[in-house]
Symmetry: C2
DNA sequence: GTCTATAGCTTGATAGAC
DNA sequence: GTCTATCAAGCTATAGAC
């Protein structure tokens, strides 16, 4: 945060992230991105191979950091339980808390990236491929931990439970303000603290209900 | 279903529904839609005012029917309980079952429409507005029923619980095959019967956990 | 690294004949 | 209702000067 003005490449990535998040990949032109980045169109092709490459770099810029803090959170939980298995709540909290925390504390920095992930996760064209590539190695690690916490759980129940978790989590990322409308202002899409208080309990109860039928 | 070949207007709507679902509104051109509908580009503008109007008609074509079958399912549950309140499971089942059933039994007819809804629900640009407009009158009706089934439930817990439900349900609609990859083939995105068996129990447990903290 | 200029194509939409 | 023909605008991407 030392420099006042980010280098051009970063400004392009910032602008692309925000616009892709709002309008989707096809809904935005390179020209719009460069206008928002306050740089000439041709610079997009100096810094990136193509529009698709720009999109890929937007995705890659933050994904490793995200996966690392979630892995650390899981390892911290496991270290607190050297003998027994951690609870389902603790594991789910390690999965969701780092993201919701980031979104609460550095909202402007992270908001658009998470919105992008929400759309990708629900895109028939890209959801299966990109989410698998970027997140499933980490997700498998969490599912292994959940399997130990729910030792008699059927495999299908486990994976479908994760699927429900994934949908709930990523819709939260989308911050569409639908809940603001529906609740008449009682709840706000951007209120990550309220979600953090509720989501792990909600989802843990779901896992346990399915795995003890 | 008497006519072998649908009238042009219906063929355009079918093609638009499928392509919008796969690629998003901006990801598809009117030309592509008309190529798939096997009709000339100019016919799009004879039958519809604009690309945006075509999209709106795609949405409107099925939404009333969906809302009516879900309302009927809720009313049937309430008629089975003239004196006491229905259970949370029964209410959630009435909310999800009609859709998953449709998707299971007439998959080709409904798949793309539901995929479209999944993307809209998670779109920062359209989610808040369109989901509110098309579905929230019905959703309020369901939330009223849930409030009676969970009489001491805090309002915020109730709305956030619905939000988690909405995310889980619409990711299911997206059928991205991510769970196929993640589970190594143990689960399949298109397997609505498996979801129908699991989702109401998972979500009902979540509602009850949040509302009895 | 940044600019001008432009190639080559596709887009949404319309006018007008039949 | 359906076709041909067309327009103005916007698109991705590149070549080449500085």
């Amino acid at each position: 945060m030392a420099k006042e003005k980010h280098p051009t490449r970063e400004r392009i990535l910032d602008a692309a992230e925000e616009l892709f998040a709002n309008k989707g990949y096809e809904g935005v032109s390179v020209r719009q991105i460069m206008r928002q980045a306050d740089a000439d169109v041709s610079l997009a092709y100096y810094h990136f191979k193509s529009k698709q490459d720009l999109f890929d770099q937007v995705m890659l810029r933050r994904v490793e950091y995200l996966n690392s803090i979630r892995l650390k959170a899981l390892e911290a939980v496991e270290e607190r339980h050297p003998d027994d298995a951690p609870s389902v709540e603790e594991i789910i909290d390690a999965f969701t808390h780092p993201l919701l925390d980031l979104l609460a504390k550095e909202h402007d920095e992270w908001k658009y990236y998470f919105q992008l992930i929400a759309q990708i996760n629900n895109s028939p064209e890209w959801g299966g491929e990109l989410m698998t590539r970027y997140f499933d190695p980490l997700v498998r690690r969490f599912i292994d931990a959940l399997r130990k916490a729910l030792p008699d759980c059927d495999e299908q129940d486990l994976f479908w439970s994760y699927h429900f978790l994934s949908g709930a989590l990523t819709l939260t990322f989308a911050e569409t303000k639908r809940i603001d409308n529906l609740s008449g202002g009682v709840c706000r899409s951007s209120d990550m603290a309220s979600i953090n208080e509720r989501m792990p309990a909600f989802l843990a109860a779901g896992f346990k209900a399915l795995c003890s039928r």
